[in-house]
Symmetry: C2
Protein backbone atom coordinates (compact mmCIF):
# COMPACT_ATOMS: atom_id res chain seq x y z
CA UNK A 1 0.00 0.00 0.00
CA UNK A 2 1.32 3.42 -1.00
CA UNK A 3 2.57 5.48 1.95
CA UNK A 4 2.70 2.45 4.29
CA UNK A 5 6.15 2.37 5.88
CA UNK A 6 6.04 -1.42 6.32
CA UNK A 7 5.10 -1.97 2.66
CA UNK A 8 8.13 0.18 1.79
CA UNK A 9 10.34 -2.04 3.95
CA UNK A 10 8.97 -5.12 2.13
CA UNK A 11 9.74 -3.50 -1.24
CA UNK A 12 13.26 -2.65 -0.05
CA UNK A 13 12.65 1.10 -0.32
CA UNK A 14 13.41 1.48 3.40
CA UNK A 15 16.19 -0.66 4.94
CA UNK A 16 15.67 -3.01 7.88
CA UNK A 17 17.61 -5.46 10.04
CA UNK A 18 16.08 -8.63 8.64
CA UNK A 19 15.62 -11.47 11.13
CA UNK A 20 13.54 -13.90 9.05
CA UNK A 21 11.82 -14.00 5.68
CA UNK A 22 9.74 -16.44 3.68
CA UNK A 23 7.13 -16.16 0.91
CA UNK A 24 4.50 -14.78 3.29
CA UNK A 25 6.17 -12.82 6.09
CA UNK A 26 9.09 -10.53 6.83
CA UNK A 27 10.55 -10.15 10.34
CA UNK A 28 12.91 -7.34 11.32
CA UNK A 29 14.32 -5.70 14.45
CA UNK A 30 12.23 -2.90 15.92
CA UNK A 31 14.26 0.32 15.61
CA UNK A 32 13.24 1.36 19.14
CA UNK A 33 13.69 -2.02 20.87
CA UNK A 34 12.41 -2.62 24.40
CA UNK A 35 14.57 -5.72 24.89
CA UNK A 36 17.47 -7.18 22.91
CA UNK A 37 16.06 -8.82 19.78
CA UNK A 38 12.69 -7.01 19.91
CA UNK A 39 11.31 -7.97 16.49
CA UNK A 40 8.24 -7.21 14.37
CA UNK A 41 6.65 -9.86 12.16
CA UNK A 42 4.59 -8.55 9.24
CA UNK A 43 2.67 -10.26 6.43
CA UNK A 44 3.93 -9.35 2.95
CA UNK A 45 0.40 -8.48 1.89
CA UNK A 46 -1.00 -5.33 3.45
CA UNK A 47 -3.64 -5.91 6.12
CA UNK A 48 -4.39 -3.10 8.51
CA UNK A 49 -4.63 -5.25 11.63
CA UNK A 50 -5.38 -8.73 12.98
CA UNK A 51 -9.09 -8.38 12.21
CA UNK A 52 -8.32 -7.84 8.51
CA UNK A 53 -6.16 -10.98 8.15
CA UNK A 54 -8.19 -13.45 6.03
CA UNK A 55 -8.64 -16.98 7.41
CA UNK A 56 -6.71 -18.40 4.45
CA UNK A 57 -3.64 -16.37 5.46
CA UNK A 58 -3.68 -17.36 9.15
CA UNK A 59 -1.48 -20.44 8.87
CA UNK A 60 1.24 -18.85 6.76
CA UNK A 61 1.39 -15.73 8.89
CA UNK A 62 1.58 -17.46 12.28
CA UNK A 63 4.02 -20.05 10.98
CA UNK A 64 6.28 -17.09 10.23
CA UNK A 65 5.67 -15.71 13.72
CA UNK A 66 6.64 -19.09 15.19
CA UNK A 67 9.78 -19.49 13.05
CA UNK A 68 10.90 -16.01 14.05
CA UNK A 69 10.20 -16.66 17.75
CA UNK A 70 12.18 -19.93 17.62
CA UNK A 71 15.12 -18.22 15.95
CA UNK A 72 15.21 -15.38 18.50
CA UNK A 73 14.92 -17.78 21.44
CA UNK A 74 17.71 -20.04 20.23
CA UNK A 75 20.20 -17.48 18.90
CA UNK A 76 19.78 -14.96 21.72
CA UNK A 77 19.39 -17.58 24.45
CA UNK A 78 16.17 -15.93 25.67
CA UNK A 79 14.60 -17.35 28.82
CA UNK A 80 11.07 -16.32 27.86
CA UNK A 81 9.12 -14.26 25.34
CA UNK A 82 6.14 -11.91 25.18
CA UNK A 83 4.17 -11.86 21.94
CA UNK A 84 2.04 -8.76 21.49
CA UNK A 85 -0.25 -7.26 18.90
CA UNK A 86 -1.99 -3.90 19.16
CA UNK A 87 -5.16 -3.20 17.16
CA UNK A 88 -6.33 0.37 16.78
CA UNK A 89 -4.76 3.66 17.84
CA UNK A 90 -6.48 3.40 21.21
CA UNK A 91 -4.61 0.13 21.85
CA UNK A 92 -1.22 1.60 20.91
CA UNK A 93 -1.06 0.76 17.19
CA UNK A 94 1.05 3.34 15.33
CA UNK A 95 1.72 1.66 11.96
CA UNK A 96 -1.45 0.42 10.33
CA UNK A 97 -0.01 -2.72 8.77
CA UNK A 98 -0.54 -5.84 10.88
CA UNK A 99 2.46 -6.67 13.08
CA UNK A 100 3.13 -8.84 16.09
CA UNK A 101 5.90 -7.76 18.47
CA UNK A 102 8.22 -10.47 19.77
CA UNK A 103 9.95 -9.40 22.98
CA UNK A 104 12.60 -11.89 24.14
CA UNK A 105 13.05 -11.79 27.93
CA UNK A 106 16.24 -12.53 29.84
CA UNK A 107 15.70 -11.40 33.43
CA UNK A 108 13.04 -11.72 36.10
CA UNK A 109 11.09 -8.69 37.20
CA UNK A 110 11.24 -6.80 33.93
CA UNK A 111 8.02 -5.12 32.86
CA UNK A 112 5.95 -6.51 30.02
CA UNK A 113 6.76 -3.39 27.94
CA UNK A 114 9.91 -1.81 29.43
CA UNK A 115 9.67 1.98 29.59
CA UNK A 116 13.34 2.34 28.75
CA UNK A 117 14.63 1.45 25.32
CA UNK A 118 17.23 -1.31 25.05
CA UNK A 119 20.45 0.60 24.45
CA UNK A 120 22.65 -2.08 22.82
CA UNK A 121 23.39 -1.85 19.10
CA UNK A 122 21.16 -3.55 16.55
CA UNK A 123 24.30 -4.59 14.66
CA UNK A 124 25.51 -6.59 17.68
CA UNK A 125 22.11 -8.30 17.88
CA UNK A 126 22.29 -9.12 14.16
CA UNK A 127 25.73 -10.72 14.64
CA UNK A 128 24.27 -13.07 17.26
CA UNK A 129 21.27 -13.86 15.06
CA UNK A 130 23.51 -14.74 12.13
CA UNK A 131 25.95 -16.84 14.17
CA UNK B 1 -2.97 -32.94 31.36
CA UNK B 2 -3.52 -33.94 35.00
CA UNK B 3 -3.24 -31.03 37.42
CA UNK B 4 -3.48 -28.41 34.64
CA UNK B 5 -6.19 -25.93 35.64
CA UNK B 6 -7.00 -25.11 32.00
CA UNK B 7 -7.37 -28.80 31.10
CA UNK B 8 -9.82 -29.05 34.02
CA UNK B 9 -11.81 -26.13 32.60
CA UNK B 10 -11.94 -27.88 29.21
CA UNK B 11 -13.19 -31.07 30.88
CA UNK B 12 -15.84 -29.07 32.76
CA UNK B 13 -14.33 -29.93 36.16
CA UNK B 14 -13.82 -26.22 36.86
CA UNK B 15 -16.50 -23.76 35.68
CA UNK B 16 -15.80 -20.80 33.39
CA UNK B 17 -17.60 -17.91 31.69
CA UNK B 18 -17.49 -19.31 28.18
CA UNK B 19 -17.11 -16.74 25.40
CA UNK B 20 -16.49 -18.99 22.39
CA UNK B 21 -15.93 -22.68 21.68
CA UNK B 22 -15.30 -24.88 18.66
CA UNK B 23 -13.65 -28.27 18.09
CA UNK B 24 -10.16 -26.88 18.71
CA UNK B 25 -10.32 -23.98 21.15
CA UNK B 26 -12.15 -22.73 24.22
CA UNK B 27 -12.34 -19.03 25.13
CA UNK B 28 -13.44 -17.77 28.54
CA UNK B 29 -13.35 -14.59 30.62
CA UNK B 30 -10.23 -14.07 32.72
CA UNK B 31 -11.30 -14.19 36.39
CA UNK B 32 -9.05 -11.21 37.19
CA UNK B 33 -9.87 -9.05 34.15
CA UNK B 34 -7.83 -5.96 33.31
CA UNK B 35 -10.52 -4.54 31.00
CA UNK B 36 -14.14 -5.48 30.41
CA UNK B 37 -14.23 -8.67 28.33
CA UNK B 38 -10.61 -9.68 29.06
CA UNK B 39 -10.62 -13.19 27.63
CA UNK B 40 -8.23 -16.15 27.38
CA UNK B 41 -8.16 -18.39 24.31
CA UNK B 42 -6.77 -21.90 24.86
CA UNK B 43 -6.31 -24.91 22.57
CA UNK B 44 -8.25 -27.98 23.71
CA UNK B 45 -5.09 -30.07 23.46
CA UNK B 46 -2.49 -29.32 26.11
CA UNK B 47 0.56 -27.44 24.84
CA UNK B 48 2.72 -25.68 27.39
CA UNK B 49 3.28 -22.52 25.35
CA UNK B 50 3.41 -21.03 21.85
CA UNK B 51 6.69 -22.83 21.06
CA UNK B 52 5.03 -26.21 21.69
CA UNK B 53 2.08 -25.59 19.33
CA UNK B 54 2.64 -27.88 16.30
CA UNK B 55 2.49 -26.30 12.84
CA UNK B 56 -0.54 -28.42 11.96
CA UNK B 57 -2.51 -26.84 14.85
CA UNK B 58 -1.65 -23.22 14.00
CA UNK B 59 -4.58 -22.54 11.70
CA UNK B 60 -7.26 -24.00 13.96
CA UNK B 61 -5.91 -22.27 17.05
CA UNK B 62 -5.56 -18.79 15.55
CA UNK B 63 -8.90 -19.07 13.77
CA UNK B 64 -10.36 -19.50 17.24
CA UNK B 65 -8.40 -16.49 18.48
CA UNK B 66 -9.78 -14.45 15.59
CA UNK B 67 -13.39 -15.57 16.06
CA UNK B 68 -13.17 -14.71 19.75
CA UNK B 69 -11.62 -11.31 19.04
CA UNK B 70 -14.36 -10.51 16.50
CA UNK B 71 -17.07 -11.49 18.95
CA UNK B 72 -15.63 -9.36 21.77
CA UNK B 73 -15.14 -6.37 19.49
CA UNK B 74 -18.68 -6.51 18.12
CA UNK B 75 -20.63 -7.38 21.25
CA UNK B 76 -18.74 -5.08 23.63
CA UNK B 77 -18.29 -2.30 21.09
CA UNK B 78 -14.55 -2.19 21.76
CA UNK B 79 -12.56 0.55 20.03
CA UNK B 80 -9.33 -1.46 19.94
CA UNK B 81 -7.73 -4.62 21.26
CA UNK B 82 -4.41 -5.86 22.60
CA UNK B 83 -3.55 -9.50 21.96
CA UNK B 84 -0.88 -10.87 24.28
CA UNK B 85 0.87 -14.15 24.95
CA UNK B 86 3.47 -14.77 27.67
CA UNK B 87 5.95 -17.62 27.32
CA UNK B 88 7.88 -18.71 30.39
CA UNK B 89 7.66 -17.65 34.03
CA UNK B 90 10.17 -14.89 33.37
CA UNK B 91 7.75 -13.38 30.83
CA UNK B 92 4.76 -13.52 33.20
CA UNK B 93 3.29 -16.93 32.32
CA UNK B 94 1.52 -18.43 35.35
CA UNK B 95 -0.54 -21.26 33.84
CA UNK B 96 1.53 -23.55 31.65
CA UNK B 97 -1.12 -24.27 29.05
CA UNK B 98 -0.85 -22.04 25.96
CA UNK B 99 -3.16 -19.02 26.14
CA UNK B 100 -3.49 -15.71 24.36
CA UNK B 101 -5.03 -12.82 26.28
CA UNK B 102 -7.51 -10.62 24.42
CA UNK B 103 -7.85 -7.20 26.06
CA UNK B 104 -10.62 -5.08 24.50
CA UNK B 105 -9.88 -1.37 24.84
CA UNK B 106 -12.44 1.42 25.15
CA UNK B 107 -10.57 4.56 26.16
CA UNK B 108 -7.42 6.40 25.15
CA UNK B 109 -4.49 6.59 27.52
CA UNK B 110 -5.09 3.28 29.28
CA UNK B 111 -1.99 1.20 29.90
CA UNK B 112 -1.32 -1.92 27.85
CA UNK B 113 -1.82 -4.04 31.01
CA UNK B 114 -3.84 -1.93 33.47
CA UNK B 115 -2.51 -2.26 37.04
CA UNK B 116 -6.04 -2.12 38.44
CA UNK B 117 -8.47 -4.93 37.86
CA UNK B 118 -11.69 -4.18 36.01
CA UNK B 119 -14.30 -4.06 38.75
CA UNK B 120 -17.51 -4.71 36.81
CA UNK B 121 -19.22 -8.11 37.12
CA UNK B 122 -18.40 -10.95 34.75
CA UNK B 123 -22.13 -11.77 34.63
CA UNK B 124 -22.88 -8.33 33.18
CA UNK B 125 -20.18 -8.87 30.55
CA UNK B 126 -21.67 -12.28 29.71
CA UNK B 127 -25.11 -10.69 29.21
CA UNK B 128 -23.64 -8.32 26.62
CA UNK B 129 -21.77 -11.16 24.91
CA UNK B 130 -24.91 -13.25 24.63
CA UNK B 131 -27.12 -10.39 23.41
Amino acid sequence: MKDCVFCKIIKGEIPCHKVYEDDYVLSFLDITPRTEGHTLVIPKKHYENFFELPDKEIKNYFKGVKRTAELLKTKLNAKGMNILNNNGEIAGQFVFHLHFHLLPKYEKGKELWPKQEYKGSLEDTMKKLKS
